[in-house]
């Protein structure tokens, strides 16, 4: 599935992965909840009447319900949340020539790509970059930074917008927006839970520990309890890290496909090569884009050196392919040989 080289298989792959992501997200929290319930049930099995006995799995129900709600919110409100986190403002009626040009270019590319016209946003950031977000082509958003509008000419702007509409058309935006939204949700929960657990452990640790020792030899499931408890605590600690890794691990190859789709829509691969060149050589990282949304952009907004490397580690943790290779592939499409390494 990582070698999806055409539109149809990429769309299929994205549909499947989005479903798997949502189900896996809810299942993970169900494990956290019901696992915790099982542990507490085991621990309070032999409790004296009158003290608390954990019978109803309310942790499992609460967490699964919470995860389902978070997944639903991510599905319906994910795109808007990504846009809000970047301070983007929507262009409804263009107020100046740059905005007018942007709206025209987006309309042109919507025609060329055969998708409905997306909503247009501008991020007030001087560093040139662009991203797209949304669930499907019928409800999608394209955002560019103010820096992109001023530094790129019309053809290059057209190529960048075509690249973003390529992501919209092959449903990359669905998977990537879900990831960004879920990373945010888990980070929030992880923060809250680590504070609650530290507080709760201090109060209950003594009684639970003591109870366990008293009933230690009588229950046959004790080793299992220890293992499950260990796994359960580990899951809590690793949850934020795992989701962040998932966001980073979205395949870099999707960018090559979007580049190719841009060349197909504009029939002008050189324009995108020039645009990428300009974006790469702009000085500062795009500070408006938070870490969890890095994979949504056309160029790595964090400006990491990892992006330009090859190899297994870079494939796993890089969000974008090396810019030099992207430019070289585009120039090859335009029948221009890349002299002297390109960059």
């Amino acid at each position: 599935m990582d070698d999806a080289v055409d539109l149809f298989s990429q769309q299929q792959s994205n549909r499947v992965r989005s479903r798997v992501l949502l189900i896996g997200f809810i299942a993970f929290f169900a494990w956290l909840g019901f696992g915790g319930d099982w542990i507490f049930w085991q621990m309070t099995l032999g409790a004296e009447p009158g003290t608390y006995r954990h019978v109803i799995p309310w942790i499992g129900i609460a967490l699964t319900l919470g995860a389902a709600i978070a997944a639903f919110v991510a599905w319906t409100r994910g795109p808007e949340r990504v846009l809000w986190s970047t301070n983007a403002y929507e262009v409804v009626d263009p107020v100046n020539d740059d905005e007018r040009r942007l709206v025209n270019v987006v309309e042109e590319m919507a025609i060329a790509s055969g998708v409905p016209k997306p909503r247009v946003w501008i991020v007030p950031d001087e560093d040139p970059n662009a991203f797209a977000t949304g669930r499907d082509p019928a409800s999608s958003h394209v955002a560019v930074t103010a820096g992109l509008l001023t530094q790129l000419n019309r053809d290059e702007l057209q190529a960048v917008v075509a690249h973003e509409l390529g992501h919209v058309k092959n449903l990359d935006v669905r998977l990537m927006t879900l990831l960004a939204a879920l990373v945010g949700a888990v980070a929030l929960v992880g923060d809250f839970m680590s504070r609650a657990m530290r507080g709760g452990a201090r109060v209950h640790g003594a009684s639970l520990g003591g109870g366990g020792r008293r009933r230690g030899g009588k229950k046959g499931g004790n080793p299992l309890l220890v293992v499950v408890l260990a796994l359960w605590i580990l899951s809590w600690l690793l949850a934020p890290l795992i989701t962040r890794l998932l966001a980073l691990g979205v395949s870099r190859k999707r960018e090559y496909l979007a580049d190719a789709m841009s060349a197909q829509f504009t029939r002008n691969p050189k324009a995108l090569a020039d645009a990428l060149h300009k974006i790469e050589h702009a000085a500062a990282p795009t500070t408006s884009m938070k870490r969890g949304s890095a994979h949504l952009c056309i160029a790595d907004p964090l400006g990491r050196r990892l992006t330009n490397r090859e190899g297994v580690f870079a494939e796993l943790f890089g969000t974008h392919p090396p810019m030099a290779i992207r430019v070289a592939k585009l120039k090859a499409m335009a029948y221009q040989r890349d002299v002297g390494g390109g960059m």
Binding site: D97, R100, N104, E107, E108, I111, A112, S113, G114, F265
Partner: protein, 185 residues
């Protein structure tokens, strides 16, 4: 034995339904792309009077160019209500040519160019020409996809039932459009 035949028949039927649906879907995409071209052409018809009004005052010496644009535009509006595709294509090509000549002439009037209005109108015209070009491109791409799918094995076997006929590509009808433009310096 009978069971195997039954399963095979079911598989063939399932495939045939899928192929038929694909052809129908492509056919409708082609029709939609064709309509897109119409929409963009009409948009250009509406834009031309504004452009003429904006430049008329300053370009008194270029009356021929202006009149050519107005005449081509009126002819295009007239022809567009009929159904003759080749005639529409020819007339729209003439309007494109007239507009390009007008834009080239505007370049040589620096005072005119300085006016904000002209900048905006130039942008609108550029965008309109681009949109027409991309609408045609989308139509040709979709039509090619449809034509290819129709003739490929095994979909070709279902093509007759689906009523699939090759869609014509939008081509240059006017040989003068293919000619290299002469730049008079």
């Amino acid at each position: 034995m009978f069971f195997v035949l039954l399963i095979l028949t079911v598989l063939v039927v399932v495939w045939a339904v899928g192929a038929y649906n694909t052809l129908i879907s492509l056919k409708n995409q082609v029709a939609n792309a064709w309509k897109q071209i119409d929409v963009q052409l009409k948009r250009r018809h509406d834009l031309v009077p504004n452009l003429i009004a904006a430049v008329k005052g300053a370009m008194n010496f270029e009356r021929e160019t202006l009149e050519a644009v107005v005449a081509a535009r009126n002819q295009a509006v007239q022809v567009s209500s009929g159904g003759d595709v080749s005639k529409i294509a020819a007339v729209e090509g003439q309007l494109t040519g007239a507009l390009h000549r007008l834009l080239a002439v505007v370049e040589s009037y620096p005072d005119l160019k300085a006016t904000a209005n002209i900048g905006q109108l130039q942008e609108e015209l550029t965008s309109t020409e681009n949109k027409i070009a991309f609408a045609r491109q989308l139509y040709n791409d979709t039509a090619t996809q449809y034509n290819t799918k129709q003739r490929q094995v095994p979909t070709v076997f279902v093509a007759g039932v689906a009523g699939a006929s090759p869609a014509p590509l939008w081509e240059l009808t006017d040989d003068s459009e293919r000619a290299v433009p002469k730049v008079e310096l």
